[in-house]
C-alpha cells in the first residue's frame, strides 16, 4: 500500500511542473540577489576621501606642523581628505552648500565647524583629536629630551599595528552567513505549501476527490502519512539543491559538520511541511486564508530572525528571548550558524530539540483533526 500511494503521489506532484519550478527556483534567485547585495560588505573598502576646508588665517600659516600634517593626509591616492584652503566666509558658504563635511579654524587651539553629526564629521574630529593629543605628547617628550627632535619626528611617521584579531570560535563570526542561513530557513518553511496541499487533498469537505478516497478501505492517517512522504521527499530534494547551490556556486561556508547540516535541512523541511498541514487541518474556512497565514508567519518569522534587518535578531534576543525560541525560522537559522561557529554542539542540540518538539506538536494537532471521522457538512 505504501509503495502504491507513494508512487502515485510522487507522480502527481512532479507533474505539477509550475509549482515545482517556482518552489525550487525562487530561493535560488534570492540567493543570487543576496550574494550580489553583500558581495561588497565584507571587503574593507577604501572609502573615498572626505572634503574639508581649512581657514587661511595667520595662525594656520604659522603652524608649520599642523599645515604639514594636514597636507600629508590630503595627498596621494589613499588620502584621507580633499583639502581646500579658503577664507572663513568661503568656508561657511561651502559648508552650507554641503560641498564640504566641515572646516577647520586654527585659533588658540584647533576648532572644527560642522553642520551635522555624521560619520564623516566623526572621522575629521578623530583625526584632529589625534593630532592635538600627539602634539601634547611630543611637547612633553621634547621638554624632557630636547635633543631627540629629529628622531622623534621620524618616529611620528610610523604607526605601528598593535592589535591582532584572533578568532575565538571554530570560525570567524560572519554576519553575511546569517542572511543565507535565514534564506534556507525561509525556504524550509515554504514547505508549508506542500503540507497544506496534502491535507486539502485528503479532506472530503474540500474536494470530491478526497471524498472518493475516504470511501476506500485505507486508514486515513496511513493515507496521509504515505502521501505526505512523497511531498516531503520532493521538498527535501529542493532544499538539498539549494544547499548545494549555496555551497558550490555562491561559496557559502557551512563549516565542517556536513552530516549535521544535512540533518538540519531535513528537520527544517519536515517542520515546514508539518506546519502547513497543521494550518490546513485547523483553519477550515477558505483556501486564501490558509495561504495567507502561512505566508505571514514565514514573513514575520524571517523578519524577527533578522533577514531584512539584521539587528532585529539581537533586539528580539534581548527584549523577548522567549520569542526567539518560538520562532522556527530563527531556530533553523541559528542551528546552521551554531554548526558553523561554535565548538560544542550544545546550542545546536537545544535548537534541534525545540524544532523536534514543534514537529511533534504539529503532528499531534494534525492527528487530532484528521482523526475526526465524519464531517458536519461536505
Amino acid at each position: 500500500m505504501f509503495a502504491h500511494i507513494f508512487r502515485y503521489r510522487l507522480k502527481c506532484l512532479l507533474r505539477d511542473r509550475e509549482t515545482i519550478f517556482w518552489t525550487l527556483v525562487f530561493p535560488l534567485i534570492l540567493a543570487v540577489l543576496f550574494n550580489m547585495a553583500f558581495s561588497n560588505l565584507n571587503k574593507v573598502e577604501g572609502f573615498s576621501p572626505i572634503d574639508i576646508a581649512v581657514v587661511d588665517n595667520r595662525q594656520y600659516q604659522e603652524d608649520q606642523y599642523f599645515k604639514m600634517t594636514l597636507k600629508e593626509v590630503s595627498q596621494g591616492d589613499d588620502r584621507l581628505f580633499n583639502l581646500v584652503v579658503v577664507s572663513e566666509d568661503e568656508a561657511n558658504k561651502l559648508l552650507n552648500e554641503n560641498s564640504i563635511a566641515g572646516y577647520i579654524v586654527v585659533e588658540d587651539s584647533v576648532k572644527l565647524v560642522v553642520n551635522q553629526t555624521g560619520i564623516e564629521q566623526s572621522i575629521i574630529k578623530s583625526f584632529l583629536d589625534n593630532y592635538i593629543q600627539t602634539l601634547s605628547a611630543v611637547n612633553s617628550i621634547l621638554t624632557l629630551n630636547p635633543a631627540g627632535g629629529q628622531e622623534l619626528f621620524n618616529e611620528l611617521g610610523n604607526r605601528y599595528q598593535y592589535i591582532r584579531e584572533v578568532p575565538i570560535a571554530k570560525a570567524e563570526p560572519n554576519n553575511i552567513l546569517l542572511y543565507f542561513y535565514s534564506l534556507i530557513a525561509m525556504a524550509c518553511l515554504y514547505g508549508s505549501f506542500f503540507g497544506m496541499r496534502e491535507i486539502n487533498d485528503t479532506q472530503p469537505n474540500i474536494t470530491p476527490l478526497a471524498a472518493r478516497i475516504n470511501t476506500a478501505p485505507v486508514h486515513k492517517l496511513k493515507l496521509f502519512i504515505y502521501s505526505m512522504s512523497a511531498s516531503i521527499l520532493i521538498h527535501i530534494t529542493e532544499i538539498f539543491i539549494l544547499l548545494l547551490f549555496l555551497r558550490f556556486v555562491i561559496n557559502v561556508d557551512f563549516g565542517t559538520r556536513t552530516v549535521y547540516v544535512i540533518l538540519t535541512a531535513i528537520v527544517g523541511s519536515v517542520v515546514g511541511n508539518a506546519f502547513g498541514a497543521f494550518i490546513s487541518a485547523t483553519v477550515k474556512k477558505d483556501e486564501n486564508l490558509k495561504i495567507g497565514i502561512s505566508i505571514c508567519v514565514s514573513m514575520v518569522g524571517s523578519f524577527l530572525s533578522g533577514m531584512m534587518y539584521q539587528n532585529m535578531k539581537y533586539i528580539v534576543a534581548k527584549k523577548m528571548p522567549l520569542l526567539s525560541y518560538l520562532n522556527p525560522v530563527n531556530l533553523l537559522t541559528d542551528a546552521f550558524y551554531c554548526l558553523y561557529y561554535y565548538d560544542s554542539l550544545e546550542k545546536y542540540a537545544l535548537n534541534m530539540s525545540i524544532l523536534l518538539i514543534f514537529i511533534l506538536a504539529f503532528c499531534s494537532g494534525i492527528y487530532l483533526m484528521v482523526r475526526r471521522r465524519k464531517y458536519a457538512s461536505i
Binding site: V113, I141, I163, R164, I168
Partner: protein
Amino acid sequence: MPVFKLCFKILKKNMFLMTMYIVIFIVVSIIMAFASANEQKNLSSFTQEKRNIVFITEDSSPLVEGLKQELGKIANFVDIPDQTEALQDALYFRVVTYVLRIPRGFTEAFMRGEDVQVEKTVAPASYGNLYIDLTVDKYLNTARLYVNQLENLSLESLVERLRQDLSQSTVTELGRVHNNTGSNAYLKYYYNYLPYSLINILIFGMAELAIVFNNSDLRKRNACSPLSSKSMNLQYMLANVVFALLSWFITVAVCFALNFKKSLNMSTVYYMLNFFVFAICAATMSFMLGNLVNRGAITAVSNVVSLGLSFISGVFVPQEFIGSYVLKVASFTPTYWYVYTNDRIAELTQFDFEKFKYVLPGMLIQLCFALAFFSVAMVIAKKKRLS
C-alpha cells in the same frame, strides 16, 4: 460602474487577509525604521553610546590600567568569565561586540621596545568597534613615542603623561544652519523600507483581482456583455489604481500618525511625493505581474520580486555599502531609483526649487519604468484576450 464595484467586492471578501498583510508589513517597516534611526544616531553623534566590551588581561601594570581607563571613556566593561563558551555566547548574542585580551608579559615587552600585540575578537559588522580600535591604537602608539624617546621613564609617569595628553579634545562647533539628522533619519529609513512592504501588498491585491478577471470562462462571459471591453478594462484598471492609492495613503498616514511633529517639515512633502511616484510604478509593475503569472506562482514571484529588488537596491543594505557593479545592475530596477532619490532628499537642507532638480531625475526615471510596465501589461492583456 459594475466592474469597478465588483473589484472592490472581491477585495472586500479578502479583507481580513488583506488587512493582516498591510498591518504586518507596515509594522515591519516601522520597527525597522525606528531601530535603524537609533543605530544611526549611536553611530554618528559625538556623544555616542558606549559600546559593551570585555577587557581581559593576563598582565597587570599601570600601563594596562591606563589603557583600561582610556577605554572606559568610550566603552562599558562587561564581566564575562574567561571561558571560550561564555565568550562565544557573549559575542554571538551581542552582549558584547568586542573582546580585548592583553597577553602575559605585554607591558614588559612593550617597555623594552619589542613588537608585541594585543588580541581582539569582534562581532562583525558592528561599527562602534572602529572607535575602540582607534583608541587602543592611539594609546599604545603614543606610549611608544615616549618609550622610544625617553629612557628611564617610569611606568607611572608614562601613564600619567599619557592621561594628560589624551584628555585633550578638539573644540567642535555646530554651524549656523544646523541640520538635525536625528529626526530626519527616522523619516528616511521609514520611507526607505517601504518598497518591500508596498510591493508585497500591491502584488497580493492585484493578483487577487487578476485571478478573477483572467478566469477564462468569466472572460468569455464578460466579453458577451453589452459593456464595451474598453470600458471594462478601464474600470478594472481604475480599481487597481484606487487600490494602489489607498495603500499609499495608508502607509503615509501611518507615518504621520506616529511621528506627527517631526513629520511637519518640507522633507516630508518630498518623501511623500517620491513615494507617490514609486507607488505608481509599483502599481503598474504589480499589475503586469498579476496578469502574467498564475495563482500558484504568485506567492513565489511576489517574494522574489519584493525581497530581491529590495536587497540589491539598497532598501535593507544601504546603497553606500553595495558594490558598484551590483548598483549598476540594480539601476535597471525602479526600486533603486526610489532609494537613490530618498537618499538625496535626506541630504537636502534647503527645499527651494533649485534643490528640487536634484531629486527630479530619480522621480522621472521611475515614471518611465511605470510607463514601460504599463505598456507591457497592455500588450499581455491584449494577447490573452485574443487567445
